[in-house]
């Protein structure tokens, strides 16, 4: 009979599992012992639980017994055999629901089922309501593991029976917990093997005698065998995978004394990183060596390619610390910075040497810190030898989780040559521009149609406006008479030939005509076709005038030498003619009519003598007296000489004298002769013109010259160039020798001055201009001293 306990708590009951109840029946004690043994040896939980259910049914003389096991929301039901009551699904559902609700206490209660049980033999005994005993199975941590459930034919349970039920429930709990732990262990072990097998690295474990203890699936499948097949084989059988060239029987062991080893092994096909761990076991037999072979082939290949790229690329690549110290650089970078080797560059902290301007370095780092990325950053760095390197850099920073910069990576281009080339180009361009703009010639570019497309600064300085030139035809500026020549030259140039020193008169911007020397050169495009014409125009008006003056004075000098020689040669015969004529006239025997003839000879000889004297005067044979001359005074005296004639013939004389005129140095009498000659000429001209004559005389100082201009409104001069030539006269024969202006010319030249004649531009008449140098201070002083000492 089961004995009731004082405190029938499950905990106590469980503790007493191994201690049978105080007065167990022999049968119950045996059953419990068997149960313990069964639980210890059983590996199959369902079978054990079924047996348990049968045993509980038997021990408590029940009609049906079942063990519910809770698995989360699911419940498994293991029940006693078919000899009991056959439970239909709905019965089971009801029992399970109530079993899950059952708590600590063993409880027997009537359970109403929706349909009656059908018993094996005594089905009639059961109706819809059946008494069911529920015994919760609780784990040591109070977790509900399941429920023992019995249908007995009897009424209430005795206390012995309750104790027995508690004992059974405790056993069930212990067994379920054990099974659960065991299955967890099994699962975890299986999982572990699966995990190891899932590792793609090859793993092999061997013992002290270099026999394989285990391999993972990857290694076995590499060798084409199941993992278990390798167990017990010698490690040497794995030599085909990789060889470390050791004397040891294991191809992967190097130094068996080391607890850990790691090295890289390259076989012809693959490269492995072999990590070895040695675990000393409790006994020697337990010593295990674990080799993990990591196939590095692809990674090494990638690394090799990366390194190759890194080293062979022509751009500089670098990794640097946040403060600018290089961690790694490629060969191009080493070359760029002018170091002997990568090691030298990495060894030296060059970050401060690199920056010729320290502030630039600060600028670089602050820009980098701010933006994190620098694109096409231009930086001038200093090579090892101090020369400058112009670079273009692309930089990125690597930051840690907190945003702090931990590395700088960059790519650097050497643009020194481009920069140098660029600046050289710029210099050349500037130089060319300067030439174009400072040259004294106008340089124009015409398109093939003759339209101006470019004009240099000189062209605009000459007064032409941009809108008058650009887009206009240059030929329109050429004097009408020269346009045909210009068009022909343009045509020649368009055919690829050069035209040089074409002299044409071209209208200046102030509408005056200038004498220009024009050169045209073809300019060709890449294909060699002439696409424009470069025109260089030089205003040679002054040069032409000067040349004309030079030619004139050269001519006059030649004439001077000629007449001087002639005059001298003529003087000898003249002397004889004059002398003998005189002697003949002294002879009283000469008849009167012959005497008259001799008088004519004498007269004509005298006249010839005068001509020769004038010629000599023109030829500057007469020295110039050097004294201070008041030009205004000389002019007034001269005017006075002819004032009667002027007044009586209604010729108006206008004096416009500069009263502050400086002195000239020269011969007053000779200058008077010059002015008188010009005035006579003017008088004759206005007389000839037949209208009211007007002669304007101006004096002024023009630079270092005193300029006297005498303008008349007479008939003008037919040839202003030749008017100073000896014997060039338009006057009637009797009026003079034709040497007057030639003598003036000689005198003015002897004074170091010049005389010229031009017809008035917009009115009748002509103007004579006489320029005489102003007396220098030294000369003035000397002359004054001489005057004072007289």
């Amino acid at each position: 009979m089961p004995r009731a306990t004082a405190k029938p708590s499950t905990r106590l009951a469980r503790k007493r599992v191994k201690t049978p109840v105080s007065r167990p029946s022999l049968q119950a004690a045996d059953e419990l012992m068997e149960l313990v043994v069964d639980a210890a040896h059983s590996r199959n939980l369902p079978a054990f639980l079924e047996r348990f259910a049968q045993r509980a049914t038997r021990m408590l003389d029940a009609r049906w017994g079942g063990v519910m096991v809770f698995r989360g929301r699911e419940t498994d039901l293991y029940q006693s055999g078919a000899e009991g009551i056959g439970l239909q699904a709905s019965h089971q559902a009801t029992l399970i629901r109530l079993g899950r609700e059952a708590r600590d206490e063993t409880e027997t209660r009537p359970v109403p089922f929706d349909r009656p049980f059908v018993g094996a033999g005594d089905s009639q005994k059961y109706g819809h309501i059946v008494d069911v005993t529920f015994v919760p199975i609780t784990a040591s941590d109070e977790e509900g593991l399941g429920c023992l459930c019995l249908i007995r034919g009897k009424g209430a349970t005795s206390s012995d029976e309750r104790n027995l039920l508690h004992a059974l429930a405790s056993h069930a709990a212990l067994s379920l917990e054990n099974f659960r732990r065991f299955s967890q262990l099994e699962r975890s072990k299986r999982q572990w093997v699966e995990d190891i097998d899932a590792i793609s690295d090859y793993i092999v474990v061997h013992d002290r005698s270099f026999r394989i203890v285990r391999t993972n699936g990857s290694l076995a499948s590499h060798l084409g065998v199941p993992p278990a097949a390798l167990v017990g084989d010698p490690m040497s059988s794995l030599r085909q995978i990789a060889e470390t060239r050791t004397e040891l029987p294991c191809p992967f062991c190097r130094d068996t004394q080391q607890a850990r080893e790691e090295y890289i092994v390259a076989s012809p096909e693959r490269i492995f990183l072999i990590s070895t761990s040695r675990t000393p076991g409790v006994s020697d037999d337990d010593t295990r060596t674990i080799h993990v072979l990591k196939d590095m082939t692809d990674r090494r290949e990638a690394e090799r390619r990366y390194r190759e790229l890194f080293d062979s690329i022509q751009e500089g690549l670098f990794f640097a610390t946040p403060d600018g110290r290089f961690l790694d650089v490629n060969d191009a970078m080493v070359r760029m910075l002018g170091y002997g080797s990568r090691e030298e560059l990495l060894r030296a902290d060059v970050s401060t040497h690199l920056y010729p301007v320290a502030a630039e370095r600060e600028r670089f780092f602050s820009a980098l810190a701010k933006r994190g990325v620098l694109r096409n950053y231009e930086e001038t760095l200093r090579r090892k030898d101090g020369t400058l390197l112009h670079t273009l850099q692309n930089i990125t920073v690597v930051r840690d989780a907190s945003g702090k910069i931990i590395q700088i990576r960059g790519l650097m281009l050497d643009v020194t040559e481009q920069r140098t080339f660029q600046s050289q180009l710029q210099r050349e361009r500037d130089f060319n521009q300067k030439i174009l703009n400072t040259t004294q010639s106008m340089i124009l570019v015409l398109d093939t149609a003759g339209l101006i497309s470019y004009a240099n600064r000189r062209a605009f300085e000459s007064g032409y406006r941009e809108d008058e030139l650009i887009g206009h035809r240059l030929v329109d500026w050429v004097e009408a008479g020269g346009r045909e020549d210009f068009e022909a030259a343009l045509e020649t140039t368009a055919h690829g030939h050069q035209v040089e020193n074409l002299e044409l008169r071209v209208r200046r911007s102030d509408t005056s005509m200038g004498h220009f020397s024009i050169s045209l050169s073809p300019m060709r495009d890449e294909a060699g076709a002439v696409n424009s014409v470069v025109v260089v125009m030089t205003d040679i008006t002054d040069a032409v005038l000067l040349q004309a003056k030079l030619a004139h004075s050269e001519k006059m000098a030649t004439i001077g030498r000629l007449v001087s020689g002639v005059a001298h040669e003529v003087n000898n015969p003249l002397a004889a003619i004059l002398g003998f004529t005189d002697l003949l006239l002294e002879n009283p025997s000469i008849p009167a009519n012959a005497r008259e003839d001799l008088e004519i000879i004498l007269h004509e000889t005298q006249r010839t003598k005068d001509i020769v004297q004038d010629l000599l005067s023109f030829a500057r044979q007469r020295p110039v007296q050097r004294e201070l001359v008041h030009v205004n005074a000389v002019l007034r005296q001269t005017i006075k000489l002819r004032s009667y004639d002027f007044a009586s013939h209604g010729v108006e004389v206008i004096e416009q004298f500069d009263e502050h005129l400086a002195h000239a140095l020269g011969d007053g009498q000779q200058l008077q002769q010059v002015f008188l000659n010009i005035l006579n000429n003017a008088y004759d001209a206005v007389q000839e013109a037949g209208q009211r004559g007007r002669i304007t005389i101006r004096t002024s100082q023009q630079g270092s010259n005193i300029e006297v201009s005498i303008t008349d409104n007479g008939t003008g001069v037919t040839d202003t160039e030749r008017i100073f030539d000896p014997f060039f006269t338009t006057k009637q024969a009797a009026k003079g020798t034709g040497l007057g202006l030639s003598i003036c010319y000689g005198i003015v030249r002897a004074h170091g001055g010049e005389i010229l004649c031009r017809n008035n531009e917009n009115e009748p008449g002509s103007t004579f201009v006489v320029r005489i140098p102003v007396a220098t201070e030294a000369a003035t002083g000397a002359a004054i001293g001489k005057e004072a000492g007289r």
Binding site: N572, G579, T605
Partner: protein, 125 residues
Amino acid sequence: MNISPILLIEDEPSVTAFLRAALERRGYAVEDASSGAEGLEKLGDREYSGVISDIRMPGSVNGAEVHAWIQENRPELCTRIILISGDTANSETQLLLKRSGTPCIEKPFRVQQLLTVVEKTFGKP
């Protein structure tokens, strides 16, 4: 009367002829030389009462050099020289005349012009 002749140095024969005629008609004795060199030769040989010399003459010796030679070798004749010039504008001649005060007649000249200067310089014959 033993009056020394006047030495006339002139390369132009027509001028020499006229001068000789004019002077001899007034009573002067005249000896001529057709070049400066010949004139100097004659000056070395005998006495003359005066010298009339053209300035511009071909050959190695011109009037200025004759003047210089006389100054050097026959100083007593220094004040008895008359120069005749075809072109007085010549600056060299100008200088010579100015420095020495030697009288000069410019060609062409009238007979009276000549005689006035000769009488003034050499005195009457």
